[in-house]
């Protein structure tokens, strides 16, 4: 049996990698994928904790996160496509009509 803290640390590392990706990438799609990665690290955390506590709530939470993530993907892609129609680009550095 592997200790829970290992999972938590692994999840934290994945989360941080995802967050770094969000900060560094300029392609909206890749940023988006990084966000999904962060969500999945949270799922890992929840599963590990649910196992530690021996109850199902953490696992239910994971289901919900997956469903929400799917909805988020759908909405996000739709917005992205709408944006491409205006700008022909998914580089977020070019999105700056609205500023100070």
């Amino acid at each position: 049996m592997v200790e829970t803290s290992y999972y938590l640390v692994l999840a934290a590392i994945i989360f941080t990698v995802g967050a770094t990706g969000v900060l560094l990438r300029r392609n909206a799609l890749i940023i988006f994928m990084c966000i999904e990665m962060m969500l999945n690290s949270v799922n890992l955390t929840l599963i590990a904790l649910a196992r530690q506590w021996g109850n199902l709530e953490g696992q239910i939470f994971v289901f919900m996160i997956m469903a929400v993530a799917a909805a988020e993907v759908a909405v996000g892609l739709a917005i992205l496509i709408a944006n491409v129609r205006h700008r022909q680009s998914i580089n977020i550095d070019e999105i700056n009509l609205l500023k100070w």
């Binding site: 938590l8 989360f15 995802g18 967050a19 969000v22 909206a28 940023i31 988006f32 966000i35 962060m38 969500l39 690290s41 949270v42 955390t45 929840l46 904790l49 530690q52 506590w53 109850n55 709530e57 953490g58 239910i60 939470f61 919900m64 996160i65 929400v68 909805a71 988020e72 909405v75 996000g76 739709a78 917005i79 992205l80 709408a82 944006n83 205006h86 700008r87 977020i92 999105i95 009509l97 609205l98 500023k99």
Partner: protein
């Protein structure tokens, strides 16, 4: 398991259920309609559904708080927040009517999303469980991402949606990570259960504080606390103005409601640890919000920064963390709903007038008082109320929050809050000065333009808002009695 469990206490969620059924009806009506006129029908239907929701809330008002399936509760606080959100919802629908062409084509989608956002916001105030809290947050966030980009012909609107979505999703991950850690700390997703486990020395206390830190990020983003506020002005400016009006109030009310309930029922024993960072956030938020608002030229951006500053004020109530403070926050949000939506409505009416599709520059307001005396007078009242001049509604929101904070021993925070509201008078007043005390630069051109009357529904919204701001100010006790805090 007993099937009756599903129905026992389901009345707790009556307003949400009414709206949910209403959304489905709305969607069915939408696919059944033919031609253009249906859009008005859909607007009427949405208003009717929301009014039914208000009726449902009133029906269960005053009942003893009961919990539904460990996930939602109907106490006075939840009902108060629901009322604020439903009112914002009704006013938002009324404003959207006729606002932009997309409504004509896609009215069904627009109003369904609008109602879904309302459902999510209301759930946020009733949730007593991390999972429900998260789902509620996502329901209204996703709906709002789409609504902010609904003006598809306008590049700014799409850009607002894009920014809101990317940053919102990013912030949500922190929020949900915080939920996970809190679950790990308390071994349950139920607020009260987490509190009990931790208070009796069980659980993993080492996960609590990082969990709180991450949850703060998620909430901080939604209510736009500095430094999580950067999206606010862009999205407020880019989104269709009726949507901005609705979400500026609804998001704040919902997120603060969830925030209050989580911090005060799951984590009251850690008040000493979280109060100070929240106080610092409040100071930052008020100060940065107000100072940045001083330099804005667009009305919508100015209102966005003012919204940030108001979030800082409401946060003071959470720092105090008492029952009285939570009811003060409910009152604040109630007052804020009217004055803020009112201000945006006047902005909408002026947008129409100036033909400047989705925003108004402050310089365009010069001389507005002579051309639109009624609109200008209403705007002046909203501005005075927002800056906290008694005896208007906004003053009592601030007053009650500050009072609760002083009682809880946060006098220094109140000093900063009051100083900040003195600063805020400057930019609110600048609107009044522009409207009353300045001449339009090209007087000739402006007067040539024919007068475009505001739509009837926005006139209605302005009238209701003005009346509310004045009446709440004259009889604040009545409303303060009605709107309850946690544990009251």
């Amino acid at each position: 398991m007993d099937t009756a469990l599903l129905f026992d206490n389901a009345v707790v969620l009556l307003p949400e259920l009414v709206l949910a059924v209403g959304v489905m009806v709305l969607m069915m009506v939408d696919i059944g309609r033919r031609g253009q006129n249906g859009s008005q029908l859909l607007a009427g239907l949405s208003v009717a559904i929301l009014l039914l929701g208000i009726g449902a809330s009133v029906m269960i008002w005053g009942r003893a708080p009961v919990e539904y399936l460990d996930g939602a509760i109907s106490d006075g606080f939840a009902l108060s927040v629901r009322l604020v959100i439903l009112i914002a919802g009704v006013l938002g629908v009324l404003l959207s009517r006729n606002w932009f062409p997309a409504i004509e084509r896609q009215g069904g989608a627009f109003y369904s999303l609008h109602l879904l956002a309302v459902i999510g916001m209301m759930l946020m105030g009733t949730a007593t469980n991390l999972i429900v809290l998260f789902i509620a947050l996502e329901i209204f966030s996703l709906a709002l991402y789409i609504l902010s980009g609904f003006y598809r012909e306008n590049a700014r609107s799409i850009e607002a949606a894009m920014k809101y979505f990317l940053l919102g999703a990013f912030a949500s991950t922190f929020f949900v990570y915080g939920c996970a850690l809190l679950y790990g700390a308390g071994g349950s997703s139920k607020f009260t259960q987490i509190h009990e486990t931790l208070a009796t020395g069980g659980g993993n206390p080492s996960l609590v504080l990082p969990g709180i830190a991450l949850l703060l990020v998620g909430f901080g983003f939604k209510v736009s606390l500095v430094p999580f506020h950067m999206w606010t002005p862009d999205v407020y400016q880019g989104a269709p103005t009726p949507v901005t009006a609705f979400m500026s109030v609804g998001t704040k009310a919902a997120a603060f409601a969830g925030f209050f309930r989580l911090m005060m029922t799951a984590l009251p024993s850690f008040h000493d640890q979280w109060a100070m960072p929240l106080a610092i956030l409040a100071v930052l938020t008020m100060t940065v919000g107000n100072l940045t608002a001083l330099r804005q030229s667009s009305v919508k951006r100015m209102l966005a920064y003012s919204g940030i500053a108001h979030a800082g004020n409401i946060l003071i109530a959470l720092v105090a963390g008492t029952a009285a403070a939570s009811s003060a926050a409910a009152f604040y949000l109630f007052a804020y709903a009217f004055m803020n939506i009112g201000a945006f409505t006047v902005t909408i009416a002026l947008e129409r007038q100036y033909g400047n599709e989705n925003d108004v520059e402050q310089s365009r307001l010069a001389g507005a008082a002579e051309r639109f005396p009624v609109l200008a007078a209403a705007m002046a009242i909203f501005m005075l109320s927002l800056s906290g001049i008694p005896p208007l509604a906004g003053f009592f929101g601030k007053f009650l929050v500050f009072k609760a904070a002083v009682e809880a021993g946060w006098a220094w925070l109140v000093v900063i809050g009051v100083l900040n509201s003195a600063v805020s008078a400057y930019y609110y007043l600048r609107i009044v000065v522009a409207m009353y005390f300045q001449q339009p630069e090209q007087a000739g051109d402006e007067k040539e333009q024919p007068f475009v009357p505001a739509s009837r529904s926005s006139v209605f919204v302005v009238v209701v808002s003005v009346l509310a701001v004045v009446v709440i100010g004259l009889q604040p006790g009545l409303w303060a009695d009605l709107l309850r805090g946690l544990g009251q």
